[in-house]
Amino acid sequence: MYAVQMRGIVKRFGDVLANDRIDFDLEQGKIHALLGENGAGKTTLMRILYGLYHSDTGEILVNGERVNINSPKDAIRAGIGMVTQHFTLVPTLTVAENLVLGDTTGITLNPAKIERSIADASQRFGVQVNPKALVRHLSVGERQRVEILKALYHDARVLILDEPTAVLVPQEVEVLFESLERLRKEGLSVIFISHKLNEVMRVCDRITVLRDGRVIGTVEKTATSQIDLARMMVGRETFGVTRQGERARGEALLRVENLGAIDKKGMLALKDVSFEVHTGEILGLAGVSGNGQTELSMILSGMIKPTQGKVWVGQRDLTGADPSQIGSAGMARIPEDRHASQVGELSVAENLALDQLDSFEKGGVLDRGRMLKNAKQLIAEYQIKASPGDRIRTLSGGNMQKVLLARSFSRQPAVVIASQPTRGLDVSATEYVRGKLIEQRDRGAAVLLLSEDLDEIMALSDRIAVIYEGRIMGILDVREATVERLGLMMCGTC
């Protein structure tokens, strides 16, 4: 008996095919894992199931019947509940109040009755919460339990959990797994989205692996292993860019020592991170997104300060420096979010000059002639398909990236920090960017490449480091690195 069946689901976002004819069957009373790297399409698929997105084509069956899910309200009515990574609780209200938010039966509230039914559900499912507690005072793990209880309170028979252990400490993870066992005994079905192989192998019965929007396979836990899953997740043996000959490596130029950082939620994002990048080499940092790369990239661009540790470029201590100091130290930064690092409403010429306005002004007045000349030169050199006066936000992703590259690389940087440089780009733009990175390395720069694309890392890097939950799991020479080894490290196993 299938609790949920999704057939032929296709979802496009502009150019990107997020879900490519996906079939997904959830057996009743089972815990089913949805495994894949970031961008594989897992969250998109579940959002379609929960009514947050509409699929372009495909159908959904719940308990064998076709249903039309246009919004979360329909999903809840169909018995589907979802707990996302970003909690939707109101901190200033109590647990009980949060649970009944959105409950449209009746006009009046009966507090005693609410608390009783919460206590009932709590006991039945073994999810311990205090109905009177203010959400603000609850720990992250407790809040997650409230979210789960919220779904159960609305009579969910199918529970979708999106990366539930991402925000939990080990002890809370244990509590969560116990709760899931209890739920399974009660006959609930659970979809467990994750990229953590060890947890998936522990608690799930069946596993579906997604990659690039497609189902690679569905296996029973008993018939597979972590290594098999890793191989399914990260893919092929062959790579797009052919490797050049061996380069002679220089001395360590960028040195990162014992770096620590906290993320926006106040949790530890980087724990004691140390590595070096030598001149004339590309150090690739592999890892699923959300393991600290964003924080590392932001520290190295000067957008946030580390809580501990040091950053050296040559002899200069750049710990906690701001972006202009880092730029003048010869560090080129290609940021993750190309939209947030260029001013969309300003022109190409203005953005190209923005980080060095001092060299484009005379006594405070902008030398627009020089800006224009500079823009024309860089447009030609970097094959940017735009005119100097075009607004940046009208450019395609690939061309926006080229503008960033042009701005950074034209200064002959000594160090290059490239974060997800080809994310969201088409094939030709991707090849162009990769070629430019190799060019910089050949020039003698020290290049740090952070990428979720393992193919890219393996094709471009001289050495590969893997980051997982804020720690460097290991640094390998590219000749020793295999897909399986890296995949395991990326998922937390060494």
Binding site: E59, N68, V343, L366
Partner: protein, 372 residues
């Protein structure tokens, strides 16, 4: 079954220019309803609003007089908004400038205008800038919302002004709450004899032109606009965001202060409580209507000045309440804001595809029933 989908598509250039014009038309359409309710003819009302002020030399000059402080407050607000600093305190900064102007008018007895007028200008600017200082520092250092702080300080300066006018500066003979007449050397001379048009108008025009130059042609202007259009991107490019915002806030306050000193030195020649009746707030409308471009601000200020002048004749001729002019201006702001938001969205029709699970099961059942 037809479905509609809302898409976000940035507005083309020609649409952006037409928006203020379309907004004016829509506003007048909306306010026509009010005019009809007041028992008057909308077309006649708009003649008095827009045409009749320009029909005589006297009223045309009056339009320029009314526009003078509006040019300055509009410029002040636009300058701050360009850097993403939401200065709602132009009204208070205006009063601060007026206060300093009134004080200078008292202490600079017997000076020549060559000395007096520049000092008035400087004093008005400094007064406005000082009043803008505290909210700016709070914003830059602790990210305290400047909308709240600048707005609340408006009330504070009003009471301070009231204190002076009812206390130390009160006219001892008439007991009227107005400051003493300012010294003759501090008066802004008239541009056209026997009219109300004064030197402040020249100052306003110069400020508009300088502001245009700064925003469009200097590195400070580009930095400000980068901060206003993309704070993170600006920071990423190494622009000192805090310092840039602070500069924008202080200069904005100073320009608003100039509006205040202009009213004191050019129109009233002393300070009164009612020296401004919302000129600072109207500046916000003007800045928005002008899309933060100083030249657009200039046109909008003149336009609002036109409406202000016309509003008086409308009420006299047709008997509609005189605050209809205020209603028109406020409606204009709302319409313009709405249009600026909506210009970036399109409604597109979506044709359902073959395998689409859009048709609700209920509809199919209904059709099945009908066929049976």
């Amino acid at each position: 079954m037809l479905k509609f989908r809302i898409e976000k598509v940035p507005a083309p250039f020609w649409m952006r220019i037409l928006i203020p014009v379309a907004a004016v038309l829509v506003t007048f359409l909306l306010t026509s309803i009010l005019v009809l309710l007041a028992g008057a003819d909308p077309l006649k009302a708009f003649y008095y609003f827009l045409i009749s002020p320009l029909s005589s030399q006297v009223s045309a000059i009056e339009v320029l007089v009314k526009s003078t402080p509006l040019l300055l407050t509009g410029a002040a607000v636009a300058f701050a908004f360009s850097a993403g600093y939401w200065n709602i305190g132009a009204e208070g900064q205006l009063y601060a400038g007026a206060l300093v102007g009134a004080w200078l008018g008292i202490v600079l007895q017997g000076v020549s205008p060559v000395v007096g007028i520049p000092l008035m200008i400087l004093g008005g600017f400094v007064g406005g800038a000082l009043w803008a200082l505290v909210p700016a520092l709070l914003k830059v250092k602790w990210n305290v919302d400047e909308v709240v702080t600048t707005l609340l300080l408006n009330s504070v300066i009003l009471f301070i002004v009231s204190y002076f006018l009812n206390g130390p500066w009160r006219n001892p003979v008439s007991m009227w709450p107005q400051s003493p007449e300012i010294a003759s050397g501090t008066v802004f001379f008239k541009l056209i004899p026997r009219s109300r048009l004064h030197f402040g108008f020249i100052i306003a025009v110069v400020v508009i032109l300088v502001e245009w130059f700064v925003l469009a042609r200097t590195s400070l202007g580009l930095r400000m606009r980068a901060v206003g259009l993309g704070k993170d991107a600006a920071r990423f490019a190494g622009i000192p965001v805090g310092r840039t915002m602070l500069t924008a806030a202080l200069v904005s306050g100073g320009i608003a202060g100039l509006a205040g000193v202009g009213e004191v030195a050019g129109i009233h020649f002393h300070l009164i409580d009612a020296i401004s009746e919302g000129l600072g707030y109207t500046g916000i409308i003007i800045a928005t209507l002008g899309a933060l471009n100083p030249l657009g601000v200039g046109i909008s200020a003149l336009f609002i000045g036109l409406i202000d002048t016309g509003a008086q004749s409308v009420s006299r001729a047709l008997g509609v309440p005189s605050y209809l002019g205020d209603v028109v201006q406020s409606a204009l702001l709302l319409v313009v804001l709405g249009m600026f938001l909506l210009q970036n969205y399109r409604i597109r029709r979506v044709q359902p595809s073959a395998g689409d699970n859009v048709t609700p099961p209920g509809a199919l059942a209904e059709e099945a029933k009908e066929l049976r």
